[in-house]
Amino acid sequence: MEVEKKETQSKETIRRSERQAFIDNLKFSLYLLRKNPLVMAGILMVVFFVVTALLSHVLVDPATAGVYDFSKNYGWSKDAWFQWGVQARIIDEFHVFGTDGWGRDILHMMILALPLDLSIAVAIVSGAVAFGVCLGAVAGFVGGKLDEAILRITDIFFAFPGLVLAMVFAAVFGRNMVSLVMAVLAVWWPVYVRLIRGQVLAEKERAYIQALKAAGLGRVRILFRHILPNTIYPILVQATLDLGGVILTFSALMFLGFSPNPAMPELGNLASDGIGHFFEAPWLIVFPGLAILTIALAFNLLGDGLRDVLDPRLRR
């Protein structure tokens, strides 16, 4: 009996100490977050947007977005839509953010656009991270000729000016969601290759990796079980910041006219409707643009805060 008690007791203390370590870590991170008011604002805004996106189909009936009849070839001008003869582009007590070219309430459209924009951002960033982790980790860990080759390729992509590559990509592969997402992804992955390559190179030299090598652990195991888990924090920070950046880029493409469907409820696309008549109906651009700004700001505030919290110097 006595042995069991000691056994369960030590098992209990063991579980407690594991939980204790986790709680200690959490308590410390919260302490740092509280210290910075901007981060708290960031967290609240992100939570607000995610919740609104999830409930968007409840808040607003998706049918109101209207259907863009592909059969009729409207060509490129937007005016073809006006035959609907619906009161367009006015601001009144019913439509607090005003209506767009097709008489749709802009606030409703923005709410409908949220899930689309957020999911696209998450898709692109996770794609870039996955791509970057593979190439970056291999380049950093293997080194030599392969590392040189991967570096040169990322240099090429970094040399491309602004959106031109994404635009050419979208123009060539047609205006559908997949090609647009691929277009932005094509411009975004090099950031992560460089970030992860740098992290792996730094971590590889640390003493505990040498010790593991000396203990005969396999190179692949060391890379995925030890080096990569220790580089998660910087990737997390960059990914959070990039969620904002991707929404800006993607909506810019839409704004310039690359959207597959002019009536699609996407923030950049909504804003592009106001290009021709900005001074008569400024709300067409101002409110969707403001939405993009606040979403990006939310992610940037959060990412910026995470960087301070996860700063290794502070953690120790």
Binding site: R152, I156, F160, L163, V168, F169, V172, V286, A296
Partner: protein
């Protein structure tokens, strides 16, 4: 001896990068004739089927891609960058370099604004760390970082052009790079309006050019001054934690002297690198701002080129800007060596 070896090595790498850029754009622009027909630049509404076939034959558009690439290279080295139909079929080279100085002017003024506002913002938020000034400047920086440039452009126009005009206040123009009635009144030397105005001694021209560039340049600057401010804040905080700052204080130096003589020099070195990258980034990013302000730069034209399917212009645009981006990085790295004595090549 060392430094020029490094430069030569970097120049060779640069050629490789430009080659890579040209291949990618070439494959995209010429590889999918159904989407982007290279022959489109040479046909008019009433070219017949055989004429079309003859054009395709002459220009070798039907040949395998790598053969086309060599033809393209031959032409390019011969100075022939093809023709841009949508710009009255003028040679693409002329179309591009007529308007290129305008983009340069816009970007340079934007970078100057970024530096002028970003560095003080960063220093203040570092020195007044975690106090009100720090949070305010961080908020400005992050807002700039998250603002869609087109939204910023239109909002500025709405206020400083439309409403100011309505309220009778002195308003900023929102179109073009100089007043219409002044166009062409002075000889074109560098092509940069402000510079040409000054060179020609025509102050009204130069002033009008400056006034025109303010709003678009600020739109561009607002996005990047956040990045610069944040970097300066981070590097200032990092430097202020260093041991040699403690030694400087232990010498009895006033805090002001410690910051300006010891901390500043170390903290601003990374800013040089970032300013170089920002300049390169703005060159590309100017596209949307030029579109919003109808600024006659190459960025706006590249947008038209994409919609018009003009692969000649896109190739030229990508290569010239890529060359500038890579060259700026080289200049910045070499400059880094002069500022930080520890780095030797």
């Amino acid at each position: 001896m060392k430094i020029y070896v490094y430069i030569i090595r970097r120049l060779i790498l640069m050629i490789f990068v430009l080659f890579g850029v040209s291949v990618i754009v070439f494959v995209l622009a010429r590889g999918f004739p159904s989407a982007l027909d290279p022959a489109a630049m040479y046909i008019t509404e009433h070219t017949t089927a055989e004429q079309y076939a003859k054009i395709v034959e002459d220009h070798g558009f039907n040949k395998p891609l790598y053969v086309q690439y060599f033809y393209w290279l031959q032409d390019v080295f011969g100075g022939d960058w093809g023709v841009s139909k949508w710009a009255a079929s003028q040679p693409t080279y002329k179309v591009f370099f007529d308007r290129f100085p305008y983009t340069v002017e816009l970007t340079v003024v934007a970078v100057l604004m970024t530096v002028a506002i970003g560095i003080p913002l960063g220093i203040i938020s570092a020195i007044r760390n975690n106090k009100i000034e720090d949070h305010v400047s961080r908020l400005i920086a992050l807002t700039g970082y998250s603002t869609p440039s087109y939204w910023m452009g239109y909002v500025l126009q709405l206020i400083f052009f439309y409403y100011f005009y309505m309220w009778g206040l002195p308003y900023l123009p929102n179109k073009g790079m100089v007043d219409e009635f002044l166009l062409g009144t002075i000889p074109r030397v560098s092509g940069v309006p402000i510079l040409d105005g000054l060179l020609a001694g025509n102050l009204t021209y130069a002033w009008s050019a400056l006034v025109h560039v303010l709003m678009p340049a600020f739109t561009l600057a607002f996005i990047s001054l956040g990045t610069l401010a944040r970097l300066i804040r981070a590097s200032m905080l990092e430097v202020m934690r260093q041991d040699y700052i403690i030694l400087a204080r232990s010498k009895g130096l006033a805090e002001r002297v410690v910051i300006y003589r010891h901390a500043m020099k170390n903290a601003l070195i990374p800013a040089v690198t970032l300013t170089g990258l920002l300049f390169a980034g703005l060159l590309g990013g100017a596209m949307i701002t030029e579109y919003v302000f109808t600024w006659p730069g190459v960025g706006r034209m590249s947008l038209q080129a994409v919609f018009q399917g003009d692969s000649n212009f896109l190739l030229l645009y990508s290569l010239v800007l890529a060359a500038i981006i890579v060259f700026t990085n080289l200049v910045v790295d070499v400059l880094y060596a002069f500022l930080d004595p520890r780095i030797k090549y």
